[in-house]
C-alpha cells in the first residue's frame, strides 16, 4: 500500500491538473462564444454575394469563367481543415481519420498515380500529413489564434493560383461543420470549380434591367473570388467554433474525472491515516501491557 506521503503528493498534483483543465474549459467557452458570434456576423455578407451571383450568372449568355467551368479531372487537391492545437477531445483524430478514409477510398486512384495533393490548414493537419509523406501543395498553420479575413484571402489566392495554373482540376474541402456544442459533423464540400448556383424562379427578369458598371461579366468576374473568400471564411470560423466546443466538452469531463479521482484518493488517504493511528495505539497498548506484566 502507498505511503501517506505518496498519496498526499498525488492529491496535490491532481488538484493542479484540475485547476488547469477548469481554466482551459473557461477559456474555451469564451472563445467559443466569440467564434459563434463571428459565424453569425459573417452571414449577411456571404448571403448577399451569393444572391447577386445567383441572379446575375444565368442572365449572361455563354459565360466563360475558369472558376466555374468543369474540366476533365486529372489532378485533385484536398484541403483539410483541422486545429492548431490539441487537447480538444477527438476533434482532430476524427477529422483526420475521415480525411484519410476519403482520400484512400474515394480518391484512391488519384493518390496511386500521384495526382493528389493535400493542402493542410491547421498545425495538426500539417503534422499528420507531412509525417505520412503525402504530397503537400501548400500549408497554412497557426492561423486560428488571430484569424483575420486577410489570412483567408491569402489561402484562397493560393488555391486559385494552383487551380488556374492547372496544378489541379478540382478542389475539395474537408472540415468539421458546427452542429451544436456536443456535436460536430465532418463534411466534404466541392470548392472548385464552383458548384452551379441554383437560379431562383422569376428572378431573371428582375435583374436584366439593371445598369451595370462596368459590364455584368466584369462584375461577376470580380465577385467570384470574393465569393470563395467568404466560403473559406465561413468554413474556418465554423471549424474554429467546433474546435472550441470540443475543447469545452473535453476539459469539462477532464475536470469531472479529476474530481472523481480526488474523492477516491482522499478516501484512501484517510483510510491509510486511520490504519497508521490504529497501529500506533496497538503498539502503545501492547507496550504498556508488557510493562505491567513485568
Amino acid at each position: 500500500m502507498a505511503t501517506l506521503r505518496e498519496i498526499r503528493d498525488r492529491i496535490g498534483s491532481i488538484k493542479n491538473t484540475e485547476k488547469i483543465t477548469k481554466a482551459m474549459k473557461m477559456i474555451a467557452s469564451v472563445k467559443f462564444r466569440k467564434a459563434q458570434q463571428n459565424v453569425v456576423a459573417a452571414r449577411p455578407y456571404a448571403r448577399k454575394i451569393s444572391d447577386i451571383l445567383r441572379n446575375l450568372i444565368p442572365t449572361i449568355e455563354s459565360f466563360d469563367n475558369e472558376l466555374l467551368k468543369q474540366r476533365e479531372i486529372k489532378k485533385l487537391c484536398v484541403v483539410v481543415v483541422a486545429a492548431d492545437r490539441g487537447l480538444c477531445g477527438s476533434f482532430n483524430t476524427n477529422l483526420l481519420k475521415a480525411a484519410t478514409t476519403l482520400i484512400h477510398e474515394k480518391y484512391g486512384s488519384f493518390l496511386n498515380s500521384h495526382d493528389l495533393t493535400v493542402f493542410p490548414i491547421g498545425k495538426k493537419a500539417y503534422d499528420y500529413f507531412s509525417k505520412r509523406n503525402y504530397d503537400l501543395y501548400a500549408r497554412s498553420i497557426n492561423i486560428f489564434d488571430r484569424l483575420t479575413f486577410s489570412d483567408v484571402q491569402n489561402v484562397v489566392k493560393e488555391i486559385i493560383k494552383g487551380y488556374t495554373e492547372k496544378r489541379f482540376d478540382k478542389v475539395v474541402i474537408i472540415y468539421n461543420e458546427f452542429k451544436s456544442v456536443v456535436q460536430s459533423k465532418t463534411v466534404e464540400e466541392q470548392f472548385l470549380p464552383i458548384p452551379p448556383f441554383e437560379a431562383a424562379e422569376g428572378e431573371k427578369s428582375k435583374i436584366s434591367n439593371y445598369i451595370f458598371e462596368p459590364s455584368s461579366v466584369d462584375i461577376v468576374t470580380n465577385l467570384l473570388p470574393r465569393h470563395l473568400n467568404t466560403q473559406v471564411w465561413r468554413i474556418l470560423l465554423e471549424s474554429f467554433a467546433s474546435e472550441q466546443a470540443a475543447r469545452m466538452t473535453a476539459m469539462d469531463s477532464a475536470t469531472t474525472n479529476a474530481n472523481d479521482l480526488l474523492n477516491s484518493l482522499n478516501l484512501t488517504y484517510n483510510r491509510a491515516r486511520q490504519a497508521k493511528i490504529t497501529t500506533e495505539i496497538l503498539e502503545i497498548v501492547g507496550g504498556a501491557e508488557a510493562l505491567a506484566k513485568g
Binding site: 456576423a41 456571404a46 448577399k48 447577386i52 479575413f149 451595370f212 458598371e213 466584369d218 462584375i219 473568400n229
Partner: protein
C-alpha cells in the same frame, strides 16, 4: 422628409458597419465617382479603393475609406459589400504611410514571387486613406 430618403446597408465579412436611412450616398465606382439618391434605377457597380460618404437624415455627413467592393441599388435599397471599410476618424495616418512605403517598395523591387497586384491595391488604399485624412 421621408420621401427623400433611401435605405443604406454597409456590410463587411466581419460585421454590419451601418444600416439606416440616408439622403445621399457617394462612392468611387470603377468608372468614376457616383452619387445615389432616392428613386435611382437598379444598379450594380464595382467599387475601387477610395472614399465613401453618406449624408444622414440630420444633414450630417459621414466619411469612410474603403479598399473596394460592390454596390447594389435596387428598389430604394443600397447594399454596399466592402472587403474593408473604416471611418475617416479611425484612420491611423502613421500606419497608412507605412503601408504606402511598403507597397511602393514591393512595386519597385525586381524580386520574383512578389504579389504586385496586391501591392498595387494596398498602395491605392493607403493613398486614399492619406488623402481622406488630409482633406
Amino acid at each position: 422628409m421621408s420621401d427623400s430618403l433611401i435605405h443604406l446597408e454597409i456590410v463587411t465579412p466581419g460585421r454590419i458597419v451601418f444600416t439606416g436611412e440616408v439622403k445621399s450616398f457617394t462612392a468611387p465606382g470603377i468608372e468614376g465617382m457616383f452619387q445615389i439618391l432616392r428613386s435611382h434605377a437598379p444598379f450594380i457597380s464595382t467599387i475601387i479603393p477610395g472614399s465613401v460618404k453618406f449624408t444622414s437624415q440630420g444633414d450630417e455627413t459621414r466619411n469612410f475609406v474603403t479598399s473596394g467592393g460592390t454596390v447594389e441599388v435596387h428598389n430604394n435599397h443600397i447594399t454596399m459589400l466592402a472587403e474593408s471599410i473604416i471611418p475617416v476618424e479611425d484612420i491611423d495616418i502613421a500606419q497608412a504611410e507605412k503601408e504606402k512605403t511598403e507597397a511602393e517598395r514591393v512595386l519597385e523591387s525586381k524580386e520574383p514571387g512578389l504579389d504586385k497586384d496586391a501591392a498595387k491595391h494596398m498602395l491605392l488604399t493607403a493613398k486614399a486613406k492619406i488623402k481622406a485624412v488630409s482633406a
